[in-house]
């Protein structure tokens, strides 16, 4: 096992989780390459070969639009997430590209204090290695459940 690679990927994944959980959403798009893809779907859609996503973006600009919509356009109650993240498998594809699979659970904490298990699933990542560090070329979030409580405002 390439330990440096493993740790590098885990570091990227951890920075991703903390950026979202700490409400630093503006930093979220910068974890992707310029034409990076982000897609959030369900295990059911994937198993049935259905291409539908709950969120789909194929550029950093579209990710920034998500963030600014959450900040300025959409109506939802104040809430935050806590990502639990584990079981990261890393596989090098070539000198510049790595594939990673990991598991997550997300708790949602509402402004009133209620905390609930909100989502669980897998991250299917394609990561680019550059001199400046690692970035996501693609992140596919595959949720275990097809059902989402009330709304999914903040990205997983």
């Amino acid at each position: 096992m390439d330990i440096a690679l493993q740790l590098g990927v885990q570091n990227l994944l951890a920075r991703y989780a903390h950026a979202i959980d700490d409400d630093r959403l503006e930093e979220w798009p910068d974890l992707f390459v310029e034409d990076g893809r982000y897609r959030l779907t369900t295990a059911e859609n994937l198993a049935l070969g259905h291409p539908l996503s709950l969120i789909v973006a194929d550029s950093r600009a579209m990710l920034r639009d998500r963030v600014s919509a959450l900040r300025h356009a959409n109506i939802y109650e104040a809430q935050r997430y806590r990502h639990m993240h584990c079981a990261t498998l890393v596989e090098a594809i070539d000198a510049r590209t790595v594939r990673a699979v990991s598991s997550f659970q997300v708790l949602r904490i509402m402004h009133g204090g209620e905390s609930m298990p909100f989502a669980s699933g897998r991250y299917l990542d394609r990561i680019r290695l550059a001199d400046a560090g690692m970035q996501f070329e693609e992140r596919v979030v595959v949720c275990d459940s097809r059902a989402f409580d009330t709304l999914l405002a903040i990205p997983l």
Partner: protein
């Protein structure tokens, strides 16, 4: 028939008032199951495109009642209660499958895809011992069969013999608007569910409320997908239970009513860096960019630009509702069209730039009225009548919902 206590009387003003106990009362919920969902109404069960092959089946709900929808060996669509004649266990546990017959896992009683009980395991016992009496008639407790009708690829079912044909219930104008979207064979793109923390009727009111759309949803007003000054209208079916609201694209006059009224959704400061999200084509060719159609009690057909979907509204108790989304395109779509639909699906569903807010808004009402069962919602936008109208600054279709609701409920 169960009845409601004297205190549950509808306000004298009629359909312009809605008493808040109607979203809270357990007895009301039970009566709705009996008189509406298991009564003379049509429940949407799925798209014909979801069951293309003989032997295909899927499970679903008519109110609280679990059902199986199947394409039988002759190719006909069937629907029946998902309940074994024996002890009442679910017959189909999975959400979909394909098989020649259906066997209950509990005691292996088997059924054909029409819901007929075909075999009882060890009915005659083993080696002359055990088994059922000669004159036993377990068929008497067989799962109930639903009448099924398919309207332009949409499957509807009803338990009642008294339900008039679907097209008759919808009326000519609403039926024509179903055909407008379901104009050719469709292809399912996928689905998901949104669990709403509110009564099912609050969601149906939200769908029928043409007044709220551009006031709650910034995306509608800001990007002029749906503004109340755009040309459009609302069509209400003869019984009040079905409606269509629609508006035209490119009829925007550049009017500034929203801006001068200081409406939140039209304020400056928000723009898209990647406007391709909203890139759309007039694929039906009539200039209608948005059409929302609902059928009582729980069906919605949606065209928002090129994002097409059906939604099933399934009650899960007085304060909880499952909203099942299925997005689709046409079988004839090319890759560009499919990509466009998938991109626009960012607008809908639990994470939809538009639809996420409806999930929140219905919950705000449910929580807001918690201490006020005897107070009433005030619904007089556009007057007090139930009728089609050119203006969507109007709550006529919401009143229509309550008109048909009261008739079914005897309230």
């Amino acid at each position: 028939m169960s009845a409601l206590p004297e205190s549950r009387r509808w306000p004298a003003e009629g359909v312009t008032r809605v008493p808040y106990w109607v979203y809270q009362d357990e007895d009301v919920y039970r009566l709705e199951q009996e008189r509406i969902f298991r009564g003379a109404t049509w429940t949407f069960l799925g798209l014909e495109a979801e069951l293309p092959q003989r032997g295909d089946w899927k499970t679903g709900f008519v109110g609280d009642m679990p059902v199986v929808v199947a394409r039988d060996q002759e190719g006909a669509l069937r629907a029946f209660e998902n309940r074994c004649a024996h002890r009442g266990a679910l017959l189909c546990l999975k959400s979909r499958g394909n098989s020649g017959e259906i066997a209950c896992v509990y005691h292996n009683w088997t059924y054909d895809l029409c819901g007929n009980l075909k075999a009882v395991a060890f009915r005659r016992g083993i080696r002359g011992k055990g088994g059922m009496p000669e004159d036993a008639q377990p068929e008497s407790q067989a799962p109930r069969k639903l009448r099924v009708e398919v309207l332009h690829g949409l499957i509807f079912g009803t338990l009642s013999d008294a339900t008039p044909p679907v097209e008759q219930v919808l009326g000519e104008e609403v039926s024509a608007r179903v055909r407008r979207v379901m104009k050719e064979p469709v292809r399912v793109l996928g689905g998901y569910s949104q669990m709403l923390q509110s009564n099912w009727k609050l969601y149906m009111e939200n769908v029928k409320d043409t007044y709220h759309a551009s006031l709650l949803h910034l995306f509608f007003a800001k990007f002029r997908i749906n503004r109340l000054e755009q040309k459009g209208g609302v069509i209400v079916s003869p019984d009040g239970g079905s409606h269509v609201s629609y508006n035209m694209m490119r009829t925007d006059t550049g009017a500034t009513e929203y801006e001068s009224a200081g409406v939140r959704t039209a304020r400056g400061g928000y723009r898209l860096e990647a406007p391709e999200l909203l890139e759309s084509v007039d694929e039906i060719g009539d200039g209608i960019s948005l059409q929302i159609l609902a059928v009582f009690p729980g069906f919605v057909l949606q065209q928002i630009s090129n994002c097409l979907a059906v939604r099933q509204v399934i009650p899960k108790g007085t304060q909880r509702t499952e909203l099942v989304w299925t997005c689709f395109g046409y079988a004839s779509d090319d890759e560009t069209m499919t990509a466009r639909r998938l991109r626009q699906s960012n607008l809908v569903g639990p994470a939809g730039f538009i639809s996420m807010e409806d999930g929140a808004a219905t919950g705000f009402v449910q929580r807001g009225v918690a201490g006020a069962p005897d107070r009433e919602a005030f619904i007089e936008m556009g007057g007090r009548a139930v009728a089609s109208d050119e203006s969507r600054v109007n709550e006529t279709s919401v009143r229509g919902l309550w008109q048909v609701y009261r008739r079914h409920m005897g309230l």
